[in-house]
Amino acid sequence: MTDKTMTPEDVVARLRSGMTLGIGGWGSRRKPMALVRALLRSPVTDLTVISYGGPDVGLLAAAGRIRKLVAPFATLDSIPLEPHFRAAREAGAFTLTEIDEAMFMWGLHAAANRLPFLPVRAGLGSDVMRVNPGLRTVTSPYEDGETFVAVPALRMDAALVHLNRADRLGNAQYLGPDPYFDDLFCEAADSAYVSCERLVEPGGFADAVPQTLLVGRHSVTGVVEAPNGAHFTSCVPDYGRDEPFQKLYATTPWEDFAVRFLSGPDEKSYQSAVQAWHEEVR
């Protein structure tokens, strides 16, 4: 069997500027932040990012890596508006494809099922149709004759997700209450990279409740062990959101934040900088 373990650097070495990149999680929850931080240390840019947006979007937008964003929102949950996303958007730093949450989900389903689109009862009558003039409608071929929006598949070159546990083959397990859409992201992408809190050894899922095994190895290209890798977003039950640090992120000028926390050579230097900050403010 193939051992798919990699480092965060190995993952971003496989990404190219101009790619379409899906990022799992939701808002400020279980985001693959260690992989996003590795991306920030790389020269990869000009990305089309597909995300239920949180600080992943804020970080990449602030660093000027996004050419186009496909998202129904960007939020930090306990801080409703993502400040760096807002600033970049108000500065016209990227193109926005604004779609509804359910349209987004059906776009993932379409991509995962190799369909060009799926019909949804959403979008009609709203200005989503005005600001996304490329959207088409489709009429039911049955007697109801209803008109729907044909949401195009959200196919990706690569997807990044973070789960609680994974094995070396790419099977991955979530232990929190919500799977979000991470399995769909992996299936909607040509290659998918899973970071996890802890690698389990072969056979380590023998006693797992089967429905917690969310992501299957057939849809995974690489696995990264990244303890605390969703920081500062939540990754329950391993840890909750680091609210003080998130507040720091949201209120610190971007350059200052980036210099202090993101300029080190690797993920370990980020984690050390965070620890030092916590000790300082304690």
Binding site: P72, A74, R86, E90, D100, G125, D178
Partner: protein
């Protein structure tokens, strides 16, 4: 009634709770503190069949005990299946109930970027959508919203929407609905202490005003007890709505 007089915030809780009256076995999705208190009050009193969540992925009973699983993707099925009544916020609302939470100004170059459209387009085409506005002002109640996220009655009719329904808009001043022949906003009740003139001055368009405008109903003694002693003993509601 004994004890302190009913506060404006408590009338708002009652007005929000009333949004779910008669809904039956549907998910109440309150966004914000006052709607959340309203939904939980309704669940504990006159709407015992309502489904509630813990704010994450668990459906909970009145005592907070788990009774089901509702992660995001199943939540979206409740929306499109119509088994949900959400009370959303609104940065802007027009007379037909078109709602904006995406951005202020021209969408192509917004002066203020807000949340994004979130689920407002799918919500308004599929399940009942009420709104909660904690500061009733001409900034929120505008002649025309900058970006239609939630679909109002005029656009829903033009789109042939089959399941569109906006039951009510609750603000810190009043309850409004769309019970007019052309489905434009109407003043349905005033919270005690508020005048029609105050609502008119705080609304950026002319709402329909019936000859007789009732007051928002009083809470019962038991409802007041639940609000004050069980649902919000710290009095957080008074910070959201003053007066």
């Amino acid at each position: 009634m004994t004890g302190p007089a009913v506060s404006r915030a408590e009338y708002c809780v009652i007005a929000c709770a009333e949004a779910w009256r008669g809904d039956g076995e549907v998910l109440a999705s309150p966004m914000g503190l006052i709607p959340s208190l309203g939904a939980r009050l309704a669940r504990r009193t006159f709407a015992p069949d309502l489904l509630l969540t813990d704010g994450e992925a668990t459906l909970v009973g009145a005592d907070g005990a788990a009774e089901g699983w509702l992660p995001y993707r199943r939540h979206l099925t409740m929306v499109t299946g119509g088994r949900r009544h959400v009370m959303m916020g609104a940065s802007q609302l027009d007379r037909y109930g078109n709602q904006n939470i995406s951005c202020i100004g021209d969408w192509a170059a917004p002066t203020r970027q807000l949340l994004g459209v979130r689920g407002a387009p799918v919500n308004t085409l599929n399940n009942p959508v009420s709104y909660w506005v904690p500061r009733h002002s001409p900034r929120v109640f505008v002649p025309e919203v900058d970006m239609v996220c939630g679909v109002g009655y005029d656009r829903a009719a033009a789109a042939g929407a089959r399941y569109h329904c906006l039951p009510r808009v609750v603000t810190d001043l009043a309850v409004l609905d769309f019970a007019t022949p052309d489905r434009t906003m109407r003043l349905a009740s005033l919270h005690p202490g508020v005048t029609v003139a105050q609502v008119r001055a705080a609304t950026g368009f002319e709402p329909a005003v019936p000859d007789e405008v009732p007051f928002t109903r009083d809470p019962s003694a038991e409802e007041l007890r639940l609000i004050r002693e069980v649902l919000d003993p710290e009095g957080r509601r008074e910070a959201e709505v003053r007066g």
